[in-house]
């Protein structure tokens, strides 16, 4: 949220601030469209993790993306996160309200995120795609499966967050 009185500062806008929902949404949408238009590929992230598994284990049962393009794609993601926050960048071990929930313990947080990550990776492969490929691209394609999967993500997320933050 920008304070209303502050004058517009392009450097801060590009390299520090977060954006309004419509501006960020248009950016994400145009990125997915640009990827399709320039390279013919469908937006997707979890396949890049599978590329990494395939590269690391040399196990042929992992299906690599053509040219391992998804690995290249996901290598760009941290750079994008860096660029968006270049103006006020710094390391942090903090993680929002999760810190309060886990008594500020770094070890608990590490274990918590490892377990959550496992569910994400396992679930994304089982669901046939993560929120990038199912929600952003799949729904845009009008895919029935992607709409169902997205409803599944949201339903599970709503149950879990409401339980966590109402009970604890």
């Amino acid at each position: 949220m920008n304070p209303p009185a502050a004058p517009f500062n392009i450097v801060s806008f590009l390299f520090a601030q977060t954006w309004s929902w419509w501006a960020a949404g248009i950016g994400i949408g145009l990125t997915a469209l640009g990827l399709a238009w320039f390279t013919g590929r469908k937006l997707g992230v979890t396949g890049g993790f599978e590329d990494a598994c395939s590269l690391a284990t040399k196990d042929p049962s992992f299906s690599a993306s053509p040219d391992r393009w998804k690995l290249w794609f996901i290598l760009g993601l941290p750079l994008g996160g860096l660029l968006a926050n270049l103006g006020h960048w710094g390391w942090t071990f903090l993680y929002g309200r999760l810190d309060g929930l886990l008594f500020g313990s770094l070890i608990l947080k590490a274990l918590w995120l490892l377990a959550a990550g496992f569910l994400i990776g396992f679930g994304a492969r089982w669901a046939g795609g993560c929120p990038s490929s199912n929600t952003i691209l799949g729904i845009s394609l009008g895919s029935k499966m992607s709409i169902l999967a997205t409803l599944g993500f949201l339903a599970a997320g709503m149950i879990v967050t409401n339980f966590l933050f109402k009970v604890f």
Binding site: W22, A36, G48, G121, F165
Partner: protein
């Protein structure tokens, strides 16, 4: 299984689109734990607006691409195949939803968080790698046809 492509795409173009995607994900606050929790708890419209806008932009663009039968700029075919229908994928979607809610992140945003300097995202990324690996090992025993993503 590596599928063949018609003409070579430069790896750098994929990297560049990855940078753009990470940049806009970060700008959208989808990398922020509290924002994700507020989305799931209906406390804030923001991320629904982000996702809705993105879907609208992509749907409109793909509609035009399809209508005009456009190939990709470099002449490669445009891959617009939907993920095949299989209701058992809903189990996977539930697991992902639980993980998304616990960690406040999905595969794309976990890597973006690393670039933002959120050190603990490293654990989420390692967890996702383990999950993807495990699905390949035990996935074939589950009620699911094929992986697509």
């Amino acid at each position: 299984m590596v599928r063949k492509t018609a003409a070579p795409n430069s790896p750098w173009s994929f990297l560049a689109f990855g940078v753009l995607f990470g940049y806009f994900l970060s700008k959208s606050r989808a990398t922020d734990y509290d924002t994700i929790v507020d989305m799931f708890r209906w406390r804030e419209f923001h991320l629904y607006g982000v996702i809705g806008t993105a879907v609208a932009v992509v749907a409109l663009g793909l509609f035009i691409f399809r209508k005009k039968g456009l190939p990709a700029r470099s002449g490669q075919p445009l891959d617009l195949s939907p993920i095949p229908w299989d209701p058992s994928r809903l189990y996977g979607a539930f697991l992902l939803g639980v993980g998304w809610a616990l960690s406040g992140t999905c595969p794309g945003t976990s890597l973006t968080q690393l670039g933002e300097g959120k050190v603990v995202a490293l654990f989420t990324v390692l967890g996702i790698l383990a999950g993807v690996w495990a699905f390949k090992k035990i996935g074939p025993k589950l009620p699911n046809k094929e992986d697509v993503c």
